[in-house]
């Protein structure tokens, strides 16, 4: 390994290099946490049966079946890794770090050194989280929410729980630093002429998510730190005697609910742009869309109490949270409707990124609508902590976020790596993934409606769950099909990196700034600083068509007189 290479890996000066580091880390964890999901589904579909092929290797104590203690670790770390180590580094790390300077016409992020530190903190967190699997008693097992007293050293005596909590502190540090960098860059580094209402919706999504990151990660940092003190120094912040376990839940969900929006806002932005690009039309009611995004961002901080409707909140407080939780459905619906209006009488190209974006519209709508029950306090008495909740947040957080991340990836891969992904494999990937997520997470919704709670090692030890056994098995089979479908993507990805067709500078024929430079862009991004003259999706403008003979015009391109 040459010294130059080591320097580029450890001290990259270009935001695009750091973005690729976040990206590889995120993809790796996505695969690991996805494998955990497969083991969870095995136990829920075929409880107590030995896991085929890998069972003996992973769980050597018995016949290869998942033991109850390991099951707790699997569902805990599936959540922790997916949220903090897979989706977050892709949607709040790789994509914004790569795209923001390119999309606003800057040569780099505002603080290049902060970008590096942000990744180092994430790398350290990754090492701690992975190390937690190899200490005595293994990794954390108190659920990704880590409610005390279960997550105290009485409930979870192993060092693994502490390591995971400490790793969350570093994830938080990484997110806060990344957020500060993003917010500053968007405010200070926009190219001349790039007003806020000329920003691509993608940048709006990143920007608002970054604001939430900066505001709310410190809160979970406090919760986690106090829990760590309880575990290591014998303080009693969250102990029943002397402290208050419910205080943790408030702190956790003040962060926890905005976190959902931290992961979905970038996707909403991406989808808003892609639907316009591939309908060859400007986004419908751009300002209204931006206002909806801002309204949702604001409201996201005021709904967290619906996670605690049955935790003995005062009914008065609960009702206030119910009001905001139901209200937030309206700007969300406005968002979906403005997407649908963008499609109206367009010239729709069903390229892979567009297919994934359309998929996001559908699964996000399902995810949002299924949340209305959970925001309705009386209905939540029945559905709280059920698989309905799990299905609901998998539609929004996993299906929508993941499809959105794929949409972005298929769209920007040529810019990121200078090669094209294979379209046919991409479409195959989509047509497995969309039905896959609907069937798998739809199965969870149905099981929750039938009364099944989440986090049960063997749900069928309870008689009322037994009629749901066939449903559980089918859901697992669909989950395996969904997982296999992702291998198509993995193959496409690596094959295209190595042997894909070289990418043109602007393969999708759109006008945002990142497509006005080379693929991949050189250090410094632009040969000369762009001067922005128009909004992000000026497509199919009759005047442009007449003068330039094409249906798009660059944001910084002058129209000949």
């Amino acid at each position: 390994m040459s010294l130059g290479f080591a320097r580029r890996v450890l001290f990259p000066s270009d935001h695009k290099d750091v973005a690729r580091q976040f990206f590889w880390a995120g993809l790796g964890f996505l695969l690991v946490a996805g494998c955990f999901a497969m083991l969870i589904r095995w136990q829920l579909g075929f409880p107590g049966q030995p896991v085929p092929a890998v069972g003996k290797l992973l769980f050597p104590a018995g016949r290869g079946e998942v033991p109850p203690a390991s099951y707790m670790k699997l569902f805990t770390m599936h959540g922790v890794l997916m949220i903090f180590f897979a989706l977050s580094p892709i949607l709040n790390g790789a994509l914004p770090v790569f795209l923001i300077p390119l999309m606003i016409g800057a040569s780099n992020l505002a603080f290049p050194w902060l970008t590096r530190i942000s990744f180092w903190a994430f790398a350290l967190a990754s090492v701690l989280a992975l190390a937690s699997f190899f200490v005595p008693l293994g990794t954390a097992a108190s659920g990704w929410t880590a409610y005390p007293p279960l997550s105290s050293n009485v409930g979870m005596p192993g060092a693994g729980q502490t390591l995971v909590l400490v790793s969350l502190l570093f994830v938080g540090l990484s997110s806060i630093l990344g957020g500060v960098n993003t917010v500053t860059t968007v405010i200070r580094s926009r190219a001349p002429g790039m007003g806020y209402f000329r920003l691509p919706l993608t940048v709006w999504g990143f920007f608002l998510a970054a604001i939430l990151n900066v505001l709310f990660f410190p809160v979970i940092g406090v919760a986690v730190l106090l829990d760590i003190l309880d575990r290591t120094l014998g303080t009693q912040f969250f102990a029943a005697a002397g402290g208050d376990p419910i205080a943790y839940q408030h702190l956790f969900w003040i962060f926890g609910h905005p976190e959902v929006y931290i992961l979905i806002l970038p996707v909403w932005g991406i989808v808003g742009d892609l639907l316009a690009f591939f309908s060859r039309k400007p986004a419908f009611f751009y300002r209204g869309t931006v206002m909806s995004l801002i309204a949702i961002t604001g409201l996201s901080a005021l709904v967290y109490g619906h996670h605690m409707f049955v935790a003995g909140l005062s009914p008065m407080l609960g009702k206030a949270f119910m009001t905001f939780s139901l209200l937030i459905s309206l700007p969300s619906e406005l968002l979906v409707l403005s997407w649908l209006n963008t499609l109206w009488k367009g010239s729709i190209r069903l390229a892979t990124p567009m297919l994934f974006a359309l998929g996001v519209v559908l699964v996000f709508a399902i995810g949002g609508l299924t949340g209305i029950y959970l925001g309705t306090m009386s209905v939540d008495l029945y559905l709280h902590d059920s698989l309905w909740v799990v299905g609901h947040f998998h539609f929004t957080l996993s299906a929508a976020s993941l499809l959105g991340a794929f949409a972005g990836l298929y769209f920007w891969f040529p810019k990121m790596f200078g090669r094209c992904l294979d379209e046919r494999l991409g479409k195959l990937h989509f047509w497995i993934t969309l039905p896959g997520v609907i069937l798998v997470f739809g199965g969870l919704l149905l099981a929750g409606y039938g009364g099944q709670q989440r986090r049960l090692y063997n749900p069928f030890a309870l008689a009322y769950n037994q009629p749901l056994q066939t449903l559980g098995m089918l859901t697992s089979l669909f989950a395996y099909a969904l997982f296999m479908g992702q291998l198509v993507f993995v193959f496409n990805f690596f094959w295209s990196l190595w042997a894909g067709a070289p990418a043109a500078d602007n393969p999708w024929e759109v006008g945002t700034l990142e497509w006005s430079t080379r693929s991949p862009p050189p250090a410094g991004n632009f040969a000369s600083a762009p001067r922005v003259e128009r909004g992000p999706h000026e497509l199919s403008d009759p005047e442009v068509q007449q003068k330039l003979g094409r249906d798009w015009i660059g944001q910084a391109e002058s129209l000949p007189r």
């Binding site: 109850p68 659920g143 409610y147 279960l150 009485v154 409930g155 376990p245 309908s279 060859r280 039309k281 400007p282 419908f284 009611f285 751009y286 049955v310 935790a311 003995g312 005062s314 009914p315 009001t323 139901l326 309206l330 979906v336 409707l337 649908l340 209006n341 963008t342 109206w344 009488k345 010239s347 729709i348 069903l350 359309l358 519209v361 709508a365 609508l369 209305i372 925001g375 309705t376 009386s378 209905v379 008495l381 029945y382 709280h384 902590d385 059920s386 409606y449 039938g450 009364g451 709670q453 049960l456 030890a461 309870l462 009629p467 749901l468 449903l471 497509l539 199919s540 403008d541 249906d551």
Partner: protein, 252 residues
Amino acid sequence: MHFGLPHDASLDGFRIDRLIALGAAVQIPIVIILTLWLIASSVLWGRRHPAVSDRGSLRHRAPLVLSLLVLVLLAALDAVSWVQSNRDLDQHFWNFGAAEGDPRTVRLEVNAHQWAWAARYAGPDGRFNTGDDAVTLDDLRVPVDTPILIELTSTDVIHDFYLPNFRLKQDVIPGRVTRVLFTATETGEFEIACSQHCGVNHYKMRGLLRVLSQEDYRRWLQLASANSQASYDPADSAAHWGWDWQREPAGS
């Protein structure tokens, strides 16, 4: 294969079921409209259709009207859910004041711990934590057609008292007392499950709720209380986990 709601054996469970049905009646059509919209746009206005540029304005009327319709439908669902839910909670699920004032109300104390439900009945003296309390484990018995008011706490981690056949969940929290209120409308055996991850045997934390006729209940309680009194040991402090009835638990 079955995936419907569990059997409802409670006086008020239907209030939840009907809000679920109302939600489905609005949400399923919205998802259908949306899916058709996505498919129709992709089919009707494909690559060969020249895009009609509206510069992102509100020029096209048809989609606007359709959007407004969806938005109004959703807002109406929100409003009805909000009003009805508040009313159901105030007048039924959480109407603890009425239950406290009702002379028929049967009171129980439940102490959850890893991984079982201990229940306590006041006995003839009407006071909890005294020598005549009847105490059971994973075996709650209540009379039919009677308001049942339970105060809950936990000695270790957070649990959740879940009665699927009564559409009820309530977290059970160490250091605090929380409450549930329900009325059974039929006799029989129903399951109590834990709905909050509470450790390795969470899934095994199963109790039985036996709904007895009022006559059977009275007879059972008399017998159980007499048995407790006979075997009462004042020195066994661990057995005296009960508390004075709270009426208005702190924090609620």
